[in-house]
Amino acid sequence: MGSRLEFSYYPGCSLEGMNKAYDKSARVVSKELGIDLTELNDWNCCGASAYMSIQELRAHLLSARNLALAEKEKKDLAVVCPACLTTLTKSNRYMGEDPKLRRTIASALKAANLQYLGTVKVRHLLEVIVRDIGEQEVKARVSRPLSDLKVAPYYGCQFTRPFGDFDDKEFPVMLDTLLKWLGAEPVNFPLKAKCCGGMLMTTNEPVGLGLVRSLLDCAAQNGAECVATICPLCHITLEAYQGNVNKRFATSYKLPTLYFTQLMGLAFGFNRKELGINEELISSKHILAKHVEAV
């Protein structure tokens, strides 16, 4: 094995709450692949969309503090939440492009003896694994192939949008690629990068449920046995609201959702507990039993 990759790790608020299993499994597989994730000390909220909706400059400031902390560590920042990815990247970019914004933020940071020179790259763990680690290293660790497990690869909206030039903005393929390396079968999933409606669940449930329904419908129509997610918000939305969808639209979906890191961990031979696989709201037991031996 070559040299280890080092990153500052930014879990984001969602992984502290309802999505601990994502955090757990991300750390486990990263370690296995030789990616050193050191949690960014005392990180704060990225300044996500709800914050940006009220305060523009302070939202950038929140991102900037995280970036400044990462710069101090002289490492790039690995994130697992695509919304954090977009928010952090956005501030990073806009500060680079707009000198006025850069100056404003710099003077604010200075008040706390912080500075940010713009050297940190923000990257999603999936992209790091597919591009930096690569097929050979990943495949070498697959001890328990997810033989023919039919998975709907779900990226959600903000993995490549609007800034990700590393994959297609409407039909990304990185997760599909990774799933194939694990022995699974990514199904055709045209809605793979469409919005899950998660943002709307508290504020406008009918619209949100409609979106979840089309996702479930599309995944099921294409024969998926589970959905692989890379976003904590998509994940919780798909699993927690399946019941509501079934009630509202008289459907009977029972699609388990698993983080891509959990699927990786399984293929690498880790046990379910290490990956938080017993924590999902819709059990994946039966499908995993069918495809993954000795789980």
Binding site: C13, S14, E16, G17, M18, N19, K20, A21, D42, W43, N44, C45, G47, A48, S49, A50, Y51, M52, S53, I54, Q55, E56, L57, R58, L61, L62, R65, T86, T104, I105, S107, A108, L109, K110, A111, A112, L114, C157, Q158, R161, P162, K169, E170, K194, C195, G197, G198, M199, L200, T202, T203, N204, V207, A240, N278, E279, E280, L281
Partner: protein, 157 residues
């Protein structure tokens, strides 16, 4: 969607932004950025939506009964207090303000999450919270000028 994005741009040009701010469109935007990457005219619509949200909140021009602005404001308060967002308390606080009965509906969800160890109750306060306050304070002046000039809310005669 009361107004399509194209109509929002048209309303802005016509000086009729107020009716847009009062519509459901702006707060329906979930920031999926699909419009931004597709727009053939290179308009960063998602950023414009954020700007409109901020304008609406600042001038009190939001759709009656809309929950999203309440959620955003609560979100900001919590981030300012803790440095991070505790998800469950956030949702609870929003429901308390807008639809207290909704909390009852959430109980089954909550219970399931709790049983699986996915319901942390106590928010974590970051130690750099005073640091952030200092920075924010230093920026207060700049905040006023941070508003987009010429985004003429309330131009309607």
């Amino acid at each position: 969607m009361d107004y399509t994005p194209r109509e929002i741009i048209a309303a802005f040009r016509a000086g009729l932004l107020e009716r847009v701010l009062r519509s459901n469109t702006v707060w329906l935007c979930a920031s999926c950025y699909l419009c931004t990457v597709r727009c053939p005219s290179g308009i960063k619509l998602t950023d414009i939506m954020y700007e409109l949200k901020r304008l609406g909140v600042e001038f009190g021009l939001v759709q009656e009964g809309a929950i999203a602005p309440v959620l955003s404001k609560t979100f900001v308060d919590m981030v300012d207090r803790y440095g991070r967002v505790p998800e469950i308390p956030l949702v609870m606080a929003v429901l308390l303000k807008t639809n207290p009965l909704g909390i009852l509906k959430m109980i089954p969800h909550g219970l399931k999450l709790f049983l699986r160890g996915r319901m942390p109750f106590w928010p974590h306060r970051i130690s750099g919270i005073s640091e952030l306050e200092k920075c924010s304070g230093a920026m207060t002046d700049a905040l006023v000028s941070g508003l987009h000039p010429g985004s003429g809310a309330g131009e309607e005669a």
